[in-house]
């Protein structure tokens, strides 16, 4: 008795290639280079999106959704994952995503959205942020100085935040709240797609709340770093980093759960 190969089996294999390329880069290349095998927010965001991808593929069940041409295209694009380059993998993911986004089936559209999110998370989000960084960091510096103005004689000099004791800090891209927004967005999308295929209005409010909380928590963190050298070390390199990461992830998950509670059918 032969095993019937379904479209979802093909997509499981494709998603496996994506998981290999993504996790290899994050865990092996960047993880080993930074000395941290798991870099919590990034791994959490991407792992969740990958999990959502597998969940959506499971929803394809035994349905035949692809034509022969599409199956050949998917097989050909899979060859991109043979190369160790993440850039080439992203090209294959983008092409597949664009192909799926033109389809009316909600499952394929959702897979396309998740692929685009994963690819954007790797490159486009970073590129866009790099382009707007001079303005984003300037705004963030003003936000931190404004928050600190009630706590003492803090002042701003260009990108520098100067404390009353002379302790000076500046915000660079890796510490910026905008950097963490992409993590919040990919978690938001992953959680929605695990639950359902369509967006509802409250999803957009939840996204806005997640972005707001991310910016707020990071602004508070930078304000704490501006207090003194000891505080800077604690919140920049010490246990404070873990605290901030956990607070951000829990906040994002809590907002997601609260927005779903609002969707639940009410008993009369």
């Amino acid at each position: 008795m032969g095993v019937n190969v379904r479209d979802r089996h093909v997509m499981y294999a494709f998603a496996g290639c994506i998981a290999l390329a993504t996790l290899w880069r994050r865990i092996v290349l960047e993880g080993l280079a930074s000395g941290q095998i798991v870099r919590s927010p990034f791994c959490a965001g991407e792992a969740l999106a990958l999990f959502a991808l597998f969940v959506v593929i499971t929803r394809m069940k035994n349905d035949a959704l692809f034509t022969r041409i599409e199956l050949f295209i998917i097989a050909a694009l899979g060859a991109a994952f043979v190369l160790p380059s993440m850039k080439v993998a992203c090209v294959a993911m983008t092409a597949t995503a664009l192909m799926f986004l033109t389809r009316s089936d909600a499952r394929l559209t959702s897979i396309g959205q998740l692929l685009l999110a994963l690819m954007s998370f790797q490159y486009f989000a970073r590129l866009i942020f790099a382009l707007i960084a001079p303005y984003a960091l300037w705004l963030e510096t003003i936000a931190v100085t404004t928050l600190l103005s009630g706590l003492g004689d803090f002042s701003r000099d260009g990108f520098d935040i100067v404390g009353p004791n002379g302790h000076t800090i500046y915000i660079e891209l890796p510490c910026s709240a905008f950097h963490n927004i992409s993590v919040a967005v990919i978690i938001w999308l992953g959680l929605i797609k695990i639950e359902r295929l369509h967006f509802v209005r409250s999803d957009w409010w939840a996204l806005a709340a997640m972005i707001g909380v991310t910016i707020l928590v990071n602004t508070i963190r930078i304000s704490l770093m501006a207090q003194s050298l000891t505080m800077h070390q604690y919140w920049h390199n010490g246990a404070g980093v873990t605290i901030v990461t956990v607070v951000m992830l829990v906040s994002v998950l809590a907002i997601s759960l609260l927005s779903r509670a609002g969707l639940a059918p009410k008993l009369a």
Binding site: G2, N4, V5, R6, D7, H9, V10, A13, F14, G16, C17, L20, A21, W24, V28, L29, A33, G35, A64, F66, R68, L71, F72, I74, A75, A76, G78, A79, A80, F81, V82, L83, P84, S85, K87, V88, V91, R126, L127, F129, A130, L131, A133, P134, L137, T141, D157, G158, F159, D160, Y170, I171, E172, L173
Partner: protein, 171 residues
Amino acid sequence: MTAIELTRAFALAALIAAALAGSLTRWESLKAKPSRSPSSLDALLGLQLQDGAVVDQVLTQPTDGVRLQFAECRDPAFLFPLQIEWVSTAETLTRAFASPDHKMIDVYRGKIQRDWRHLDRISDYVKAAAGSMGGATPDADRYVRVYFAADCQVDERLLVDWASRVLAHSL
């Protein structure tokens, strides 16, 4: 077996083969990659570079960098390896060093860059990354900012050589 079933089986086999081959190429490329010790600008201290230049101090303020004494000039040069997308650090360096007494030059991928603004940096980085789709882009995301006395005449090839040595020892 119908034609569509055969195509599915072929696609599945091709993707599994791609995943297995991809695991192998990644593993091989990792083995081929030379291991680097973490942040080792300290290792440059006392190092003799081309043309008798010597690293006489490793700096941590305003950011990580080195001070270089060299024959052509009485005053030292300062070299700071920076990430290409960094904004505030570059700005802080400018305010710390920018004066009529100092010349500033950026060195990116073996080339001298003058008046190299943020958008130029990002644009050059995108070009470098896009130009090497299949392979690694060594040091495409980093450059070295150099400050030296305005009255000094320094050979540009020396600047490029010093910058590449400093970059090789930075994270």
